[in-house]
Symmetry: C2
Subunit: 188 residues, 2 copies
């Protein structure tokens, strides 16, 4: 198969859409979207989000050493997209979007109550990489709406998270289940 | 909305399925799957993958300070799943799966030629987090099959990457496009 070189680019398929929640210096709840992030450890459970140093949220994480990550379901596409377009410096995004900031129970940061699953994170590492600083948060708690959890845990088919294509900058829904990793394991 | 606490857990929705390519101490090409990873910087472009220290690939990255990430399309679900079940210590996974290891042009690591898009990465940071070590690679080149690239860049709808649900451990396909971030931007 012949592959063409596209040069050095920041891409991956898929990327998540993470809504990072913080309180700013005035105590105003703020949220921003990030597609640069992922899980980075199982034990302790840690997730990483990378933010530009110019963002309002960057300074809030630096100051309070904590953040939340809320996962929007696809029905909140427009709100989520708007969160990514504006800065908390210019006003309260929660209020202008009709979203509800709830204070996390384990860290001093707000999450988006309307979104089906949220992660409460204590900052454990910051790594300056250039355009972005990677913040690694130890997950102190995961909270989810009852309707997205079954007896085995949270169910992505019910969460219906947004999926981002950073190549063509498009949002997608999740598609069909293709296989159960543990069933494939036992039959392979 | 009332949320229930699920405790401290390593989850995120969605996670990617990344196939990490390395050469081992004998020069044998090896591949492993990782769901813990993501983009972490735009400039320089960097991606992170987290591996357990017990994996064969962990030692290969430590030794050669480079790796590739190949993104499997959904048609390679079974092969990709198998890659995640076995260790390169026990044999050549490429050979047993009928996959083709090609040496990357910018780093000393192999990628999976059958997969539609691949990333060639030079190790720039290692961070021990507990169960996992996070390896951050600077992307030196992205290579893609012609059929997944249009005039604007690589197209996730053509790549058809696997998507993983770490909650219920299931693989999914991508679904429908929901919106174009730049069109939404201009009309919002």
């Amino acid at each position: 198969m012949s592959k063409r070189s596209l040069g050095a680019r920041a891409l991956l398929f898929p990327t998540p859409i993470l809504v990072v929640g913080t309180y700013d210096a005035k105590g105003q709840p703020n949220a921003m979207t990030a597609a640069w992030g992922g899980v980075c450890s199982s034990d302790p459970p840690c997730i990483a989000v990378s933010l530009k140093t110019t963002t309002h949220s960057y300074h809030s994480i630096k100051r309070l050493a904590c953040f939340t990550v809320s996962i929007p379901s696809e029905q909140y596409l427009v709100e989520t997209h708007y969160v990514g377009l504006t800065s908390g410096r210019d006003g309260d995004k929660f209020a202008s979007l009709g979203l509800t900031p709830l204070r996390a129970s384990h860290v001093n940061a707000p999450y988006v109550d309307e979104f089906p699953i949220v992660f409460e994170c204590k900052l454990v590492h910051s790594l300056d990489l250039g355009s972005h600083t990677q913040f690694i948060g130890k997950v102190l708690d995961v909270k989810a709406n009852d309707e997205v959890v079954n007896c085995h845990g949270p169910d992505m088919a019910r969460i219906r998270p947004l999926i981002f294509d950073p190549g063509l900058r498009r949002y997608f829904s999740i598609g069909n289940p293709l296989g159960d990793a543990d069933v494939l394991r036992s039959t392979s």
